[in-house]
Structure formats: structure tokens, C-alpha cells
């Protein structure tokens, strides 16, 4: 955290710098606190509601009821932490995408990358076409592969026009429709059982979370974050437009390629294990931008944290909305996310994007 606060001197410029640093730190820390509460609440909610205090004791390793210990560590915590990891990955990939494409509608969901993953998953479920991996991971592997294919496709098609932001967005929209069409085609020929399985996958679900899956996402995040840290200023400069960024010394094309690789890894691994979850990748960066602006040193971590908070709270809601049943998480994010988003768009500062 200290690396996010800047050297200051006591004059108006220094004070302004200090103010921005303080604000960044405050937003990040308070989001982190909300996130921790969200995890505890998420781990406490389920068919049997556990006392939050007992959950906290179990999480922190203090001696507690062995049943609570078992439920928390083997069932609840993987789901709660998965919500955070997936939310962070989606929030981060959405933030990078909105920055490099300079477009408020960009996210891996709106630009066809999640749709690509959905098509990959459908191929396994409906036709049994998969990579040579253990059965348990066949859907995940195919979803990741096709997220990568979609990402590469966006860059390949959009790159034909000098990889401008507009070209890439158009390519993304085209691929969204293509993959949705292909998925619909598969659903048309699918047997009723596999159709049900496909639809359930597309709704998204955290319930099949396990520790190894969680570590896979954490590993991808751990690789991506230092890589991003190197590019924060370049990405911030890109917000001023390609011409200006390149005048400031950014290799715009290389930065976009690097960012696309990161986006495809983050989205791929996130949707591979939990299915397509919309809206987090779109909304989290908007909330982060509203709170601390687009200095990417604050914007990227805040988008990740905000995505984590959103998905964590959605996970709690999915378990409490209808007693005894678990609502698909993808439906919850849309049902809660959309009104929230409309509120931001309508009520906040006019020129906030």
C-alpha cells in the first residue's frame, strides 16, 4: 500500500498529490474491509446459517465446533473465496478492456469473450468435443481455450485496421453474435439433458468450487498483477488517446497486445470454472472510476476489489433469495447489478464517463 502513496511537499501541488493518494488509500482500504465482511457473511450463509463469529474463528484457525470447522473449510470457504477471485479477475479484465478500448461498454461479456467460452463449454457438453484433459476439467479447458480464441479473434479482426479502439470494439460485437449464434445452434441439436446442462452452465454457478480450482485462478491473478504494475502509466496515458499516448512514448500496439493476452487469461480462467457471469466486468470499473478516477495505479486495484465485493455479495444473495434453493449467480448479478448501474448512470455527475 505504501507504494501507492506519493512523495509530497507542502504546497498546493504537493497537497493535491497527497489528497489524491489519501483518497486512493481510503477507497482501497474501505473496499477491502467490506470485502472481508462479505467473505464472512458468504461463509456463514447456506442451508444451515452459521453464526458469523464462529465462522470467523474457524477461518482464523481458532478452536471451534468441529462441524462448523468442516463446513467452513471444505464447503463454504472455497465458494466464498472463489467468488472473490472470480470477481477480481472479471473486474480487472473489464477495467483493462475499458481502458485500452476507451469505451464504457467494453467488458469480456459484451465483447464476445465470455460468449466464446460458453461456446467452448457447449461443445463439450453437447458434442463431447474436448481437449485431452481429465473429464473433470474438460469443460473448463475448452471454455478457456475458446475465451482465448475469441480474444485472439477480436485482435485479429480489429487489428486489420491498425488495431484502433473502434475497430476492436466492432470486432468484439461481431464475435459476440457469432458465438451466441453458434451456441444456439448447438442448443438446437442438443438432447434435453445436455441442453439443461448447457443452460445451467451459462447461468453461472459457484457451487462446484474446490480448492484446486481456486488456486488456478489465484495463480493467474498472481502472474497478471505484476505484469500490469509495469504498465500502469502506459495504460493511464492510453486514456488520452492513441496519438497522445504514442507521443508520450507508449508503444500503443504492443501495449494492446499485452493487455489482450492478460484479458484472455483473466476472463478465460474466471469463466472456465464458474460459467459466464455477466455485468461484474462492466460495472466494477464504473464504480471504481467514479470513486477514484482513472490513474490506473488506483483504478485497476479498485476495479478488482469492487468486482470481488460485487460477486461476494451476489453469492450471499444467491443463497438467501429463495430459502432452500440456490439462485444461479449469473442471474443474481444481472438482477442486482442492472438497477444499481442504472442508478449510477442516471444520478451521478453528467460527464462521469
Amino acid at each position: 500500500m505504501t507504494s501507492l502513496s506519493d512523495s509530497v511537499a507542502p504546497d498546493s501541488i504537493g497537497l493535491e498529490m497527497a489528497r489524491a493518494s489519501r483518497r486512493r488509500l481510503f477507497v482501497l482500504l474501505s473496499t477491502l474491509v467490506v470485502l472481508l465482511l462479505g467473505v464472512l457473511l458468504d461463509a456463514a450463509t447456506g442451508p444451515a446459517f452459521l453464526p458469523v463469529l464462529a465462522v470467523a474463528r474457524a477461518v482464523l484457525g481458532y478452536p471451534t465446533d468441529s462441524a462448523v470447522q468442516a463446513i467452513v473449510w471444505s464447503i463454504r470457504l472455497p465458494v466464498a473465496l472463489m467468488a472473490i477471485a472470480v470477481g477480481a479477475a472479471l473486474g480487472l479484465s473489464g477495467a483493462i478492456m475499458q481502458t485500452i478500448l476507451n469505451n464504457p461498454l467494453a467488458s469480456s461479456y459484451t465483447l464476445g469473450i465470455s460468449a466464446g467460452a460458453g461456446f467452448g463449454a457447449s461443445l463439450v457438453i453437447v458434442l463431447g468435443l474436448s481437449l485431452p484433459v481429465p473429464d473433470n476439467y474438460a469443460i473448463a479447458a475448452n471454455a478457456m481455450l475458446f475465451a482465448g480464441v475469441a480474444c485472439g479473434g477480436v485482435y485479429w479482426i480489429g487489428g486489420a485496421r491498425n488495431a484502433t479502439a473502434e475497430g476492436l470494439v466492432l470486432a468484439g460485437i461481431a464475435l459476440l453474435f457469432l458465438f451466441q449464434g453458434l451456441s444456439s445452434l448447438l442448443q438446437m441439436v442438443a438432447s434435453p439433458e445436455s441442453l439443461q446442462q448447457v443452460v445451467f452452465w451459462l447461468f453461472g454457478s459457484l457451487q462446484k468450487s474446490t480448492w484446486p480450482k481456486l488456486w488456478a485462478i489465484v495463480a493467474v491473478l498472481a502472474v497478471c498483477v505484476p505484469w500490469l504494475a509495469r504498465d500502469v502509466w502506459g495504460l493511464t496515458a492510453l486514456k488520452l488517446g492513441d496519438a497522445r499516448a504514442s507521443a508520450l512514448g507508449v508503444n500503443v500496439r504492443a501495449l494492446r497486445v499485452r493487455s489482450f493476452v492478460l484479458i484472455s487469461a483473466l476472463t478465460g480462467v474466471a469463466v472456465a470454472f464458474v460459467g459466464t457471469i455477466g455485468f461484474v466486468g462492466l460495472v466494477a470499473p464504473h464504480v471504481a472510476r467514479l470513486l477514484i478516477g482513472e490513474d490506473q495505479r488506483g483504478f485497476l486495484p479498485a476495479s478488482a476489489l469492487m468486482g470481488a465485493v460485487l460477486l461476494s455479495l451476489a453469492s450471499v444473495a444467491s443463497k438467501t433469495l429463495s430459502p432452500g434453493a440456490i439462485f444461479p449467480i449469473g442471474i443474481v448479478t444481472s438482477l442486482i447489478g442492472v438497477p444499481f448501474f442504472i442508478w449510477i448512470v442516471r444520478c451521478k455527475r453528467k460527464n462521469y464517463w
Binding site: L4, G241, A247, L248, D295, N351
Partner: protein, 267 residues
């Protein structure tokens, strides 16, 4: 640092924008680039900045084709959607040396340039909330903060009131003289060019019509030929000359003949 533009041609697709331009810019001098809309002024500056590739010819910096890192370029477009403060935008001017944590010398450079341009009070403002003129000053600050040896400014005063126009031109001139910068300045205002530039290059249709001292280049004859405008040269009380545009010669039928007439009568 001396810049030598040698037989430079630039094309956008099949359309040639610059043809065989050769000129020199010297350290400690301001070279003004003037000409009508679409004459290739911005493209010339972009080519020097390395933002567009040359179809033919080359740009040399002290005899070398390698562009110096200390090159401040301010593009013409001042629009932005970035949710960034003035301070953050100016800081980005030092992108090449910025670390994750902003260092004291980077902040000092920003502080100096903001004070010099009178922007210190705006430091915390969102750039999207500024007026076009204020934003133009902010982007100028961004170009200056990297302490460049070469300064390329594309219409830096187009959105400014007269006070800020003079302010900016004075600062640019002072810095050029004091720090030995090589400055290229694209301007529409011919009188400003006459006043603040050591040399002037006049472009028309992608070709260099004239290059030299303001007195040699900014003549009634050249203005008639390049812009199709009849102008009158007046002498001010302080001895400086002023060009006053009178009427456009390119309306209706009276085109080439009228231009020739003005050009001939001027000689």
C-alpha cells in the same frame, strides 16, 4: 539539437500530403510553420515527431536518424474522456521515467511547469471539466514537463484568449532561448508567427512555398498565393509590421487572375 528535414514526402494511402520538403530547424530558435488548412502543417510536425512514417526522405536530429527521447510533442486534438486530474495529465508527460511511486523530482518538474503556465490552481480539477483553452494549456504543460530538447507544438494557441496566447508564446520563446530548445510551432495567426518565430516555413498543398525570416516569408504576395487572401502590410508605431487580411480572392470567378494581380502589385 539541430533538425534537418531532407526531401521528406508523406502519403496517407494514395494521397500525398507532403512533397519533397527540405528545411532546417536550429537549437535556440523557434521555427513557425504556417499555411492554409490541409497544407500539411500538422503532418510535417507529426513526421518530425515520428508519428507518421515518411514515404521518402528523412528527418535527422544532429545528423542522426535516431529520434531523441527528450522530444515534447503536443498534438492538435484537445478532446479527452479521461477521468484524470490536471496534475495526473501533466505528470504523464514524464512517462518515460515515472515509477509506480511518483518521485520527488517528477513532482518538482510538474510543480514548476504548472506555476510557470499559471495552472497551479487547477491542479486538482478533472480535465474533462475544463474549458477548451484551459485544456490546451494543460497539454502544453504536459509537453513541457519532460524537459525536452525538441518541442513540437501543433496549434498551441488555437483555443486561447489573446492574453493566454501571448502568455504561451512568450513562455515558449523564453524556454527556447534560455534552454536552447529546437521548437517547431504550427500557427494560423500570421502576425503571431511574425512576432514570435525566428524562422517561418510557409506550406501550400504539401509543398514548401517559402522558408526564411518572417520578413522574407510573410509578404503580401506570399499570402495571396498561399491563402488566396488580399492583405495589406501596415507598419506599427513601434516599427513592427502587421498583415491585415482584406478580402478572400477565391470566391466566385475571380480566382487565379485576381491572385496574380495582387501578387504582381505587391512586387
Amino acid at each position: 539539437m539541430n533538425i534537418s528535414v531532407q526531401s521528406l514526402s508523406v502519403a496517407y494511402g494514395a494521397h500525398t500530403v507532403l512533397q519533397q520538403i527540405s528545411l532546417q530547424a536550429h537549437a535556440g530558435r523557434v521555427l513557425g510553420i504556417v499555411g492554409p488548412n490541409g497544407s500539411g502543417k500538422s503532418t510535417l510536425v507529426k513526421a518530425v515527431a515520428g508519428q507518421v512514417a515518411a514515404a521518402r526522405g528523412q528527418v535527422l536530429f544532429d545528423g542522426s536518424a535516431v529520434r531523441p527521447a527528450a522530444l515534447g510533442y503536443m498534438p492538435q486534438d484537445q478532446q479527452t474522456q479521461a477521468a484524470l486530474s490536471v496534475l495526473e495529465v501533466v505528470l504523464l508527460g514524464r512517462l518515460r521515467q515515472l515509477r509506480l511511486k511518483v518521485q520527488a523530482d517528477d513532482l518538482n518538474a510538474v510543480r514548476q511547469v504548472l506555476h510557470r503556465l499559471g495552472l497551479a490552481a487547477l491542479a486538482g480539477r478533472d480535465v474533462r471539466e475544463l474549458s477548451g483553452g484551459q485544456r490546451q494549456m494543460v497539454f502544453l504543460a504536459q509537453a513541457l514537463v519532460a524537459e525536452p530538447q525538441v518541442l513540437l507544438l501543433d496549434e498551441p494557441i488555437s483555443a486561447l484568449d489573446i492574453c493566454h496566447q501571448l502568455d504561451v508564446l512568450q513562455v515558449v520563446r523564453e524556454m527556447t532561448l534560455q534552454q536552447g530548445l529546437t521548437t517547431l510551432l504550427v500557427l494560423h495567426d500570421l502576425n503571431a508567427a511574425a512576432r514570435f518565430c525566428d524562422d517561418v516555413a510557409l506550406l501550400q498543398n504539401g509543398q514548401l512555398l517559402a522558408c526564411g525570416s518572417p520578413a522574407q516569408v510573410l509578404t503580401v504576395a506570399h499570402v495571396a498565393r498561399a491563402f488566396g487572401v488580399e492583405a495589406e502590410a501596415l507598419c506599427c508605431l513601434d516599427g513592427t509590421g502587421v498583415l491585415v487580411p482584406k478580402r478572400a480572392l477565391r470566391s466566385g470567378l475571380q480566382t487565379d487572375d485576381a491572385i496574380k494581380k495582387v501578387a504582381i502589385s505587391a512586387y
